[in-house]
Symmetry: C2
Subunit: 248 residues, 2 copies
């Protein structure tokens, strides 16, 4: 028997970036960043539509500066596109004709905060319902522990990221080589078990959904909860996000 | 129609003390502190058995100092009683013959951290399954918003406190005067809906339960998940914990 095949890796779930410093997983791990509404869904969409790479930045000022240098820029605050930017963060605006082969500077409220928080991790993959199966297969091949980091909403717990964490945990556990290592992962699995048979109905009650509706931005919601629309696995290497499946 | 009767108060759930600074509820609120295994269950037990008041302290050193001054002292670290203390935090050790009419100094790992964190709240009530109905009735009478603060485990999310948060949210919502105001409350309600028909079975998977088993301290677990063993409502006023139902 090959000893390597017996190795069990852990799956840990972190409900908000603020809890990231408390994670139990200390070594040999990959972080999966989750911001279903909308950063990670949008980043997957951009790669599906041919973007070359994405440079995440942490402040609108930095995004504005890079715009003056000629970059395509996506920048939003509290769900609204900023005036100087080419895009907000609606997945639907990143069409192939606008972004294919281009480098995109991307600034978001929640996603960037989480990327900053987890920058000690060498590899941060972008997780969304639209790439969940491709991501799962890629993670299984990495032979590492997995920490699923939910972006949440202003550092608070949010339902949509948490149920995705449950869906991804379930998919990893189905591969035998993984075990859930904390109560958060158990809770995420349970929430996903309640949500999965009627995702649109379940997500109706998520507070963030109501915020998007108020802003008139809820057209991306059915799309954001549709599994496997793309095979991309965008990965952040500490500097830029590349589509790992295209680059390995 | 009496306008006062129409007022709706919010129920917010905070899964760990570390997330307390992010709560949405800003005014006119009561915090309910939850540490099912074991601080709040034990504090309720002590009042049921006649303790006069409890002084919470934040460090074993402080507890040791008060022991030399003649106080009865409960002090544990990571679930184990410290050598100088009269009690650890097993509910079963706080028997009437030992504590009736006495003042108790109480130091715990999780509970005290949460009390410190929420000290801006004027009133912090102690919540446990063993006093849930008495607590609910008392909260309904206060005419305030409610923030349920789970102690968690070393600042991480834990299942047993979260399902209690769901149980208490459900009980408050059944009174019409309350509404859940965040995704955490919705998630807690959902976890409770999965747990309530088989609480012992559900709690088997909680990581902390396994830690207690390892320490040989799991004899309090069935007790800690039994509803309504007492009518006490211990309340912290920023200095000491008193049984509010006995003092109003």
């Amino acid at each position: 028997m090959n000893r390597g095949e017996d190795l069990i890796h852990t799956v840990e779930v972190c409900f908000t970036p603020k809890l990231y410093p408390e994670i139990l997983t200390k070594e040999n791990f990959i972080v999966v960043l989750v911001d279903i509404l909308r950063a990670t869904t949008t980043i997957c969409t951009a790669f599906e539509n041919g973007v070359k790479k994405i440079i995440p930045v942490s402040s609108p000022d930095e995004a504005r500066e890079l715009k003056t240098q000629g970059f395509l820029v996506a920048s939003e605050q509290d769900g609204k596109k900023l005036d100087f930017a080419d895009f907000g963060n609606s997945a639907f605006s990143f069409t192939r004709d606008k972004i294919e082969g281009k480098t995109l500077v991307y600034c978001t409220t929640n996603g960037t905060r989480a990327l900053e928080m987890a920058k000690d991790a060498k590899t941060i993959a972008m997780g969304a319902f639209i790439n969940i199966t491709a991501l799962t297969k890629w993670l299984v091949r990495q032979n590492k522990n997995v920490v699923i980091l939910c972006s949440g909403w202003k550092n608070k717990f949010c339902l949509e990221d948490s149920i995705f964490a449950g869906a991804l945990t379930e998919a990893l556990l189905a591969n035998n080589g993984f075990t859930a290592c904390c109560d958060s992962a158990e809770a995420a699995l349970d929430l996903w078990s309640l949500a999965k048979d009627d995702l649109p109905g379940y997500i109706e009650k998520a507070a963030h959904r109501h915020r998007l509706k108020k802003l008139g931005l809820d057209e991306v919601i059915p799309y954001s909860f549709t599994p496997d629309l793309t095979g991309v696995v965008p990965v952040y290497n500490g500097k830029e996000i590349l589509n790992y499946t295209m680059n390995e």
